[in-house]
Each structure stands twice: as structure tokens, then as C-alpha cells.
């Protein structure tokens, strides 16, 4: 059973430990702006919402890549960017309708969540279980998948 990140915004306190853990593990710096998961602060609603790539089935980023630099990790199901192949054209950053692929000007490559190879640092760092790494059929994930389905460009069948 593949596992997925499950996010429960109701439990998020906005401590940003997830962003720090992500940027440190992936970029070697404690810098939230380099994090692949972002916590959005909705002050008027008094809510914090962590948000990152859902590893969607449509894989807009992967299909839009002109140089085969994004592939599926067979073990985790994550869509993973190969730094060796990425040319930095940024097409995936506009193709992903979830806004979860970003261009890193320092490296000239794009960055996105890769589930840390199967042990996501954000989930480990979260002190309130707002981010957990659970079986992929978890109901919270279904909610995100439903949104992903609405975002399809129109194919009602998939190959």
C-alpha cells in the first residue's frame, strides 16, 4: 500500500516546523522560502493550512516536461524531478494547476515535493499531527483527489 501525505488544517498551529524541516532536508538550509510545503495563514478565519503537491494521478508537471526530467518513483508514487535532466525551462511551474512546482533561481532547476523518498520530513517534524503520512486511501486524501479530478483538462477516461 502506497502512503500519502494527509493534511488536517484543523490541527495546524502555524509553527512552520514542516517548512524548516523540508528546506533543511532538501536544500541544506533552514529557510522556509526554500520549502516544498507551505503553510498558508488565513488570519481572518484564524486558520493555518499546510499545502503541498498531492502527487496527483494526472501528473501535469510530468507530462508537460519536454525533457523527461520528471518521473514516478515506483516505490512511493511520488513525481520526482531529476536535477541532472531538468533544464530549468519552468513549463512545469505553469502547467501544474495546483501551484506546487516552483523554480529555484539559485540552482536553475525546479523543486517539488518528492515525499523525501518515502519518509517525509514535514510529517516527522509536525508536532500536532496536522501532517501525517498514511495509507493512500485515507479520506482526507480523497478530498484532495476530488479537487484534482475537477482540475482535469477534460479526459473522462484515463489510459
Amino acid at each position: 500500500m502506497q502512503k500519502s501525505l494527509n493534511i488536517d488544517p484543523g490541527k495546524c498551529t502555524g509553527c512552520l516546523q514542516c517548512e524548516l524541516a523540508c528546506s533543511y532536508d532538501n536544500e541544506g538550509v533552514f529557510n522556509p522560502s526554500k520549502s516544498r510545503i507551505k503553510v498558508f495563514n488565513f488570519e481572518t478565519e484564524g486558520r493555518f493550512v499546510p499545502y503541498t503537491c498531492t502527487q496527483c494521478d494526472e501528473a501535469w508537471c510530468m507530462h508537460a516536461c519536454p525533457v523527461d526530467a520528471i518521473s514516478v518513483d515506483a516505490a512511493t508514487g511520488a513525481k520526482v524531478v531529476s536535477d541532472a535532466l531538468c533544464v530549468g525551462c519552468k513549463v512545469c511551474t505553469i502547467a501544474c494547476p495546483f501551484g506546487t512546482v516552483n523554480y529555484n533561481t539559485a540552482t536553475g532547476k525546479v523543486i517539488k515535493c518528492d515525499l523525501c523518498g518515502g519518509a517525509p520530513e514535514c510529517a516527522k517534524a509536525c508536532p500536532t499531527d496536522a501532517i501525517t503520512f498514511v495509507d493512500a486511501n485515507w479520506t482526507g486524501l480523497e478530498k484532495m483527489r476530488a479537487w484534482a479530478a475537477r482540475t482535469d483538462s477534460g479526459a473522462t477516461a484515463s489510459a
Binding site: P9, Y51, H63, D68, V91, P97, T105
Partner: protein, 426 residues
């Protein structure tokens, strides 16, 4: 890449795909999944493995080698999928006999045909463009010649500062040439960006030492000193050039369909199943004029995301799986000598719509959002790279913004907040 590049002058297959760019290759792969046993023939005509034109700028900068431009990197990819990749220039389609004809006289019979023939660069009617120092930057063959001529310090003139021109500009800049850019429009990227954005990009490029001439035309290209050309402009200036790169737009490849009976306008007309006016013929990518999400009409959107969407949906329908296309959204992302910009959809606004702009001139940052009612219909950004894909999500899904419209009007930078708030339970 061990796939053969043999000429394939005759035969027949359940699925014949003409054109080995992104639309053709994605279609072939999708067909293989959807129709595991069917014969699939993919016809290319450049004598190269299938590659990405989009990657050429990075080949020019030396960031990647030629293999780095290939659409698929694994050796034997097409053979493993039992996709027969052959070479040949298709010169005609006979929809009654269900055959395509190649330049060498051979024919391929098809059950279903996909035309993914792409586009070709336009050569404007300027005297002197037949000289050997004049090149498009469209194919790998073009790129090899540009690499020879665009040496550090050489004089290069780039004709056209549209989207493609500006991508080439970036590579020429990195090759450290002395660069003059000539654009007949009143600003850079006039079909992707407004005056504010185009102005920022021009000022940025000038700050990098690039001479940008807007509202200017090339009137004639003559022999200059030594190996150089003399490029005459309509403002009286004459600019020397070891190399003139022509990037004056592209046009769908449809000429070979004359007499075929297939309906062609700006591109090959297709419906929301990517089917042409013939029930067994489909079209995808730069050659196809398909449903336009923004206008509700039919447009050629010659961009990578549209090509791959087209290729996938055409292939599903060719395999007998019904798939309908909601329409393409025009979108572009550009890096001009380090300044990154993007535009989506109706970036110039729609009738009866509303607009909000936020310009930070000294910081080279700009955001413009276009609304119709409480739905985002278009956007452009300069100097922003974070979460820009959410603009596609908001526009494509016609998300009702509710209170977020006012919040975006107050602060257009809160794009991703608006996206998360309207897509998640907040």
C-alpha cells in the same frame, strides 16, 4: 537512444502518427497504454530521435548536449513500447483510401491517423534573408549552425522579440554575444505581455547590455564588412551582424493537406475529441486549431502544455475511449536574462471584465489579474516564480472567488492564498 532512424516508406498500421514532437510522442505512448496490441507508427522527418524544440535554448547555452534535448531519455524507449519510429516527409493525405503519402513516394495505410505536424517559422518578406548567416532557431540543425556563429563577442541581430524570440535572446545573452534585438511591436513580447510588463523586460534587458529596438523594422539585409552582414533598420541605423536570427513567429504546418478535404483555418480544425472533419483523422499540437477555454472558439495555442493535452486526448479517442477536451488555455513562462515572467489566458482582459495591477518598477515586479465576475480569466506576472501554476488552476477551473476577489484586488500577490482558500476547506 538506439531506436532506428530507418526510412519507412511503406506499410500500414492501426495508428499512424505524423510528427514526432511532444504531441506525437505523448499520443503514441498513450495509445500504447490504451490499445496494447495495436500497431503504432510514428513518422518523424528531421532525421533525429524525437526531441523537444523547447530544450534547444539550453543546448545553445551548453547546459545540455544534444541528447539532453531528447523527449525520452531511456535507450530503446520506442522499441520497448513497440512504437515503430520511421522517417519521412508526409506530402499528402488521402482520406478515402486512408493513406498518407511520403516524399519518397511511399505510402502508409492507417486505421486512425493523427496529424501532429507542428509549425514552421515564418520568414518575413525582407530582401537579403537568403544569406548564409541568416538562420531560424527552430530545429536542432538550426541550433548547430547558431552554435558555430554565435561565439563570444560576435555581433548578433535577433529579429523578433516575441515569446520565441525572447527565449532565444536568453541563450544568445548567455553565449556572450553582442546582441541587437529588433521588434516591430511597441514593446517586447507584445502578444504575451502588456505595456508595463513589456517595458520592465525591455529595461531589464538593456541593463544587461542588450540593445533593444522596439517599434523598429528590418528593411534590408546586405553584405557588410568581411564575413558580416549589414542589417538596415527603418530608423536609418545599420547594424553589423555575423549572425541574424529570425524569430518572426510560426505558422501551423498544414500545406500538405491541400486537396485532402480536411477543414483547415489557421490550423487543422478539430472538435473537443481532437477529431478533424474526417472521422478517422485527428490533429494535435501546434498544427491543430482546437477548443479554446478562454474564448469558447477555436484557436491554435502553440505551447507545450496544449500539445501534450492534445496528444493524450486525441490518442484516447483514437483508441475508442471517449475523452472530451474542455479547451486549451494559452500560457507562457519566460526567462529574459534572469527576469522571469509569465502570462495566462485572457491576460489583456475581457469585455465587461475588471482588472487589477500592481507595479513595483524599481524591483522589476508586476502582477496583473483579469476578472470576469468573480472568476479569474487571465493573469500576467513579472519577477514572480512562486506558485504561478495556481493561476492556471484558478482560470481553468473557473473558480468562484467569492470574497477572495476583493482580497486579490486589494493585494494581487495573494494568488496562492486565494487558490488554497478556494480549493481546500479553510
Amino acid at each position: 537512444m538506439s531506436d532506428t532512424l530507418g526510412s519507412g516508406s511503406a506499410g500500414s498500421a492501426a495508428h499512424v502518427i505524423v510528427g514526432a514532437g511532444p504531441a506525437g510522442v505523448v499520443a503514441a505512448e498513450t495509445l500504447r497504454k490504451a490499445d496494447p496490441d495495436a500497431a503504432i507508427v510514428l513518422i518523424g522527418n528531421e532525421g533525429e530521435p524525437p526531441y523537444a524544440r523547447m530544450a534547444i535554448p539550453y543546448f545553445l547555452t551548453g547546459n545540455i548536449d544534444e541528447q539532453g534535448t531528447y523527449l525520452r531519455k531511456q535507450a530503446g524507449h520506442y522499441e520497448r513500447l513497440n512504437i515503430r519510429y520511421v522517417q519521412g516527409a508526409v506530402t499528402g493525405v488521402d482520406t478515402a483510401a486512408k493513406t498518407v503519402t511520403l516524399a519518397d513516394g511511399g505510402t502508409w495505410g492507417y486505421g486512425k491517423l493523427l496529424l501532429a505536424t507542428g509549425a514552421h517559422p515564418i520568414r518575413p518578406p525582407i530582401p537579403g534573408l537568403d544569406r548564409p548567416q541568416v538562420h531560424h532557431c527552430w530545429t536542432l540543425a538550426d541550433a548547430r549552425r547558431i552554435v558555430e556563429l554565435a561565439t563570444p563577442g560576435s555581433h548578433v541581430v535577433l529579429l523578433g522579440a516575441g515569446f520565441i524570440g525572447c527565449i532565444i535572446l536568453e541563450s544568445l545573452f548567455e553565449r556572450q554575444v553582442s546582441l541587437n534585438v529588433i521588434e516591430m511591436g511597441d514593446r517586447m513580447v507584445p502578444r504575451m505581455m502588456d505595456e508595463n510588463a513589456g517595458g520592465l523586460i525591455k529595461r531589464w534587458c538593456e541593463g544587461k547590455g542588450i540593445a533593444v529596438h522596439t517599434s523598429t523594422r528590418v528593411t534590408e539585409v546586405r553584405d557588410g564588412d568581411g564575413e558580416e552582414l549589414a542589417v538596415a533598420l527603418d530608423n536609418g541605423q545599420v547594424v553589423p551582424a555575423h549572425l541574424l536570427v529570425v524569430a518572426a513567429g510560426v505558422r501551423s504546418n498544414t500545406e500538405f493537406l491541400a486537396g485532402s478535404g480536411l477543414k483547415v483555418d489557421q490550423g487543422i480544425l478539430v472538435d473537443d475529441t481532437l477529431r478533424t472533419s474526417d472521422p478517422d483523422v485527428y490533429a494535435a499540437g501546434d498544427c491543430a486549431q482546437g477548443p479554446d477555454l478562454s474564448t469558447g472558439g477555436y484557436s491554435v495555442h502553440a505551447v507545450q502544455p496544449t500539445s501534450v493535452d492534445h496528444g493524450r486526448i486525441a490518442a484516447l479517442n483514437m483508441a475508442g475511449r471517449e475523452a472530451r477536451y474542455k479547451g486549451s488555455l494559452i500560457m507562457n513562462v519566460l526567462d529574459t536574462a534572469g527576469l522571469i515572467s509569465c502570462s495566462f489566458g485572457s491576460w489583456d482582459g475581457v469585455e465587461g471584465g475588471e482588472s487589477v495591477t500592481l507595479l513595483d518598477d524599481p524591483a522589476y515586479r508586476y502582477t496583473r489579474l483579469e476578472f470576469k465576475g468573480d472568476v479569474l480569466v487571465g493573469a500576467q506576472c513579472v519577477g514572480r516564480t512562486d506558485h504561478i501554476g495556481a493561476l492556471r488552476g484558478l482560470i481553468q477551473n473557473k473558480v468562484a472567488l467569492g470574497p477572495w476577489k476583493e482580497r486579490l484586488r486589494h493585494d494581487p500577490n495573494r494568488i496562492m492564498d486565494a487558490y488554497v482558500a478556494t480549493s481546500q476547506v479553510v
